[in-house]
Symmetry: D2
Subunit: 409 residues, 4 copies
């Protein structure tokens, strides 16, 4: 658990980062919601502030004056127990409040939080500190969503604009040969066991039996995926889950054919596809079909966690400022680059207890119909990652930075 | 026909007015497409420039350099013969070009048009002058659409912002008693007969037999419409066309209940409903049901034209800067305030010939499934109006400034 | 007006014919509703009986015992003022009542009607006799719908079954050369003027001015329509109404390619397309596009009525037992074969008054969004036809026996 | 493994039973597909015969003459590798083949299978015998589907017909008090371990760690579920998974309010709801919300299997001819009555290998987005049940005989 002082500093860093992420955007870019699953950048900026206002300032900060009476409804994402919600599909229609008004809202919340930290530093309250930490982790998740959503929004524009033209590019020229990590069978424990922050869905730590298995030390590359496509992988029903076959996808989300070759939309604009980089923005169905074609399978979430628990949390994260997956080096890829689809449906761990009150809606109510992904990606902040972290998306979702890590046995 | 010099001056006025209409907008407001039928204000601004670029500058202006190669596709509304089109439902997703870029596009077109006028003033070409006049009338139509679309976009925002707080308000306190204009039966001529500009759909002028009829000298008011509602007009199937009954509307588009009373969304924001003002933003189905309930009927387009042809073109137009229908004075309401639904389906006049080439797509291809409206409204420019003018919308459309004028016999 | 005795005899004939039309059906065939627009044959059989029960027996026949309390709801088509309706899209889910029960219902109604005729023959009541005549005309319309719907139902079955294998086939080998009937301009009267039965929508007879025009003496043939297709008629946007272009049809409803040739689904099963027969089962959009391609236009309903009024009501009707349009002979085709699309939207005639009470829902409430067709077809009973008859369908409808008659000038 | 002789006898029994299940149906009832998820009874009867024809007779029976060339396509359910399929949503439109033709098809297949058994009894082929057993288990699954689908089809008919009026009714008057089976933590094995037939999805048997848990000895009753409803269970968002909350259900599928009370649609028609009988035809979302409200949880599939493995396979099955769940007696309810929703998403067991060839499509490709249910129900044949049996439905599905068994700890 962090001290109030540490948390205060972290608050300032995290809040600032959200605005930095948005700084390359034109006012118009803040407004777009290209599909229901995404939100306009301005909405993200307001919603993460709403979180602090709703769960900390309003109930716990003496004399706090609500910034605007309708923001509670406008910027509530999915907390039914908080009250009415503006319908998700209509977030892109909110021209007002303007982005200037939203920044004013952010700054009013930040100012009130400064005063609130003064109180907490004198008189720490563990529960409130936890909520602040939850709010910061929440904002870090939305930083990742911001970049995913911006990428999607830019991709549907025929002009194919770049979000940034100055991205770092530590490109490793060639992907290293895939190596298999071998793990013995046994009764393992998974779930959070640290004293640090973790979401409720990572608890309780519990026993889980695993047969022996092998896990790839890197992600599947574009070149390997092209071989699947050339072998008519998208046309062979026997490789596909029934629900995936119905989707009738023909290539990863951001690829577009260019004569014999492929271009790929990135946060740096449209680029030639690099066969050594990991294949990204694929659905669970595509990941699963590829694994079946390759004679392998997708790992379970427990298998990945057990292996990751022994690895250092290093890799291609947001902090590298590349914002695109990179070819694996000699040490493989364990964290970062792309969230790896697992074959495990998102479910409560045995004995799971959601947080009390409205915060209990944070995770638990989504434990159905989604699949777990593990390991973080190139738009995840490094200090947001841990071995027990469970991300989750619907099997058909493709706009997140998802990739394929194979397992065997 | 106007001289090149007159047209040149008119060009400058009309082009400037579009920008004036948008001047109260925030950048964010330019971006919104709240329903498929509407377009973002920025798209309107670009499209009307596209019209001059596509039909005049590109084919007829020597050395004209295309402003941007993809704008032809992005800002083509529905001219299939011009080439590919950006899909209409996705206009609101075009964050780029930004509004600054769109103004740059407008100004580049205007600059090239200045040079083009220099040529034309020396060497007038009647066909090109006609196309300029068409482009200006086209832009005037889009000025009306801009205000309709802005009103709709603002109305879906729970904050109910006002487009302008400084609108003129020459409110006449009480609606005058309805009087009936009596017209004798006879073989009339309808359609354009002037030497001035008119759309192709107003020609050819042709004979049309009318039995004798009466036409109301003013529009139906909110108060009269409330009586229909209080008499369960929306619940009585016998008053409704079958297709309208399916729509299951319960009140005019912009009304919202406020205890016992009603508020109405206007371009000046949410206001108490004024019972003396004409009821507006109703569908053809609502207009028709009201007329049936009142024991009257809607007029045909020929009936309205025959009567309007003898009236001065004065009334509550855009030029009055009220931007909302007003109570009728002692002289009634013949032009302006609200487009009156007619019972006539939009169809080609006998012997109708569309314009040649892509301009032939302007009107003719919409002559199915829509109903004609007549008389102009409070967001129509006065110098855009004439007795033979045919506006048209789908029977279920409600976001245009539409109202009810009754006929009898 | 027919005497009670004449009507009695006609009642027996019409009621028997409905059952004869269904006699080739298997029990399973009675059950199918392949699209929302159609109804299962068993539903038609019940609904036409419901009409007599609801509008005559229940209100006017002393001591009549309702056959089944829920039939009023189950077999009400669209009479909102009668009461609740079983939803139209779910008619095909009514396995019960069985077809045997529905025939029992028919026969119970017939028996009660026999007794009712006894009363009427002694004591004629003009209003009731009119309602019986309306019910018989209603049943004749449903006989036509039965054959349209059966054809559609059979066509969606990959086995392409034939409704009948014993249809008459007086095929005329070659279509005669098209001749143009010339009509002078003038102030005509249209609408019903007889003393015989006509629907309310054919009244009142009224004056209508027509410019001079030419009308084709026969329908457009498959061979002529193939020329349109070979000239890329379906791919050229400039030939199409905007709403039709969206439909993206590629050939008439019942055509299917067979190598270089076409097969056509008919009530006699799948057959080689005969180029001399009239093209059928096309939408208004297709008819309109063809006419534009051919440099002609579709006629208005008034134009057709004025010409038909002077022609004998002979042609290829249901009575010929061919149930498919035939090549035109030397005298042309004026009635029968196919309903000709007109360019007139279905609207009330000036001074139109619908029937009183629920029967007023018969026609009037459909006077929006549909187009008028004229002249009858090969599944219309000859004694159901007259010059003033107005049929109507939505412009996109294709399952009715519709064709193209050209006009010029 | 059964001998060819045993299997031959079983073939005759199973095949006969399908026809017995359909014997109360009218021809019309065979035709209905009330929702996409269901199939018309006639389609089921043909499809199970298709299975034997496609997987045994065509490839392995010398001289077998295909019954009808188009049946391969018409009655293929979802075997993409076999070839083209008639679209699932259109099964209800196949009036032809008639039910008589489908019985002729069944009997032709049975006749050929008789000859095939003659060969096999002389010369047993283990692989073919396995396929026959698979075909019989397949047909038993469809027997259950037949009854589920018939129930649904009858329920949408406003006449609420009964499938049978002569159902057995061994009603136990009062549900016994719920008792908790306590199970110790440990490393268990789950999955099929018998020498008898089991589906591929029940293998391989594998180790699975379970913490200690309690399992209810009977299902949740209607009375208990009513208490949840009276406590506003359907209106309290905090009880619901997010995807379930969207569905906005208000009561179990087959309940309908009747004043203060409820009626329930059953295979014996509409009946008063019996509070002692288990609540049935609920979605996973409803089961999960109920468990949360009750302060318990749904069991995992492993938990149920471990407990069931020690219980005798007795209970209220199809064989009891009640076809509705019954109140639990003093010994509780372990098998039969209703399939219990588990909290386990349907997934491949570690090391899962689907059957080779097209039969591999039987189970594996559905291992996504569905939840496992366990224990069989009142329309499952007793000899079709075993502890390792995995049934699966989408979380929103309600037309199967599903219920709630609680777990704790």
């Amino acid at each position: 658990m962090q001290t109030p002082q540490q948390l205060h500093q972290r608050y300032q860093q995290v809040r600032k980062l959200s605005e930095q992420i948005c700084s390359p955007l034109a006012v118009e870019d803040y407004q777009i919601q290209a599909i229901i699953e995404t939100s306009p950048p301005k909405w993200h900026l307001a919603h993460v502030s709403w979180f602090f206002e709703t769960f900390l300032l309003k109930p716990h900060h003496k004399d706090y004056q609500v910034f605007h009476p309708q923001y509670e409804m406008l910027f509530n994402s999915y907390y039914e127990t908080v009250g009415a919600l503006h319908p998700r599909p209509k977030r892109g229609l909110l021209a007002r409040p303007t982005i200037d008004e939203i920044y004013a809202y952010r700054h009013a919340v930040d100012e009130a939080m400064e005063a609130f930290f003064d109180v907490l530093e004198n008189c720490p309250d563990e529960k409130l500190l936890f909520f602040i930490e939850l709010g910061l982790n929440h904002e870090q998740q939305h930083q990742e969503l911001l970049l995913m959503d911006i990428k999607y929004n830019f991709s549907v524009n025929p002009l194919k604009p770049a979000y940034r033209n100055d991205l770092a590019n530590h490109r490793i020229d060639t992907t290293s040969v895939l190596q298999w990590h071998e793990q013995e069978a046994g009764l393992y424990e998974i779930g959070d066991s640290s004293n640090n922050f973790a979401y409720d869905n990572e608890s309780p730590r519990h026993r889980h039996y695993l047969a022996d298995f092998s896990l790839a030390n890197r992600l599947v590359t574009n070149g390997e995926y092209l071989a699947f496509m050339e072998d008519k992988g998208y046309q062979r029903s026997e490789l596909w889950l029934a629900d995936g076959w119905q989707k009738n996808e023909q290539q990863p989300l951001y690829w577009q054919q260019d004569g014999q070759d492929y271009l790929e939309m990135t946060l740096g604009g449209l680029r030639a596809l690099n066969p050594d980089e990991p294949v990204c923005h694929i659905s669970y169905y595509e990941a699963d079909a590829y694994a079946r074609w390759a004679g392998k399978r997708l790992p379970t979430e427990a298998e990945i966690e057990v292996v990751l628990a022994d690895k250092a949390i290093v890799g291609n994260f947001f902090d590298q400022d590349i914002l695109h997956p990179q070819a694996a080096g000699a040490d493989g890829q364990w964290y970062g680059d792309l969230w790896a689809w697992t074959s495990t449906a998102y479910h409560p761990y045995p004995g799971f207890k959601p947080l009390e009150g409205s915060a209990g809606e944070y995770n638990g109510k989504f434990m159905c119909n989604q699949m777990v992904l593990r390991g973080g990606c190139c738009v995840t902040s490094q200090d947001h990652m841990r071995a027990s972290y469970r991300n989750f998306f619907y099997p058909h979702d493709r706009w997140q930075f998802s990739g394929i890590r194979l397992a065997d046995k």
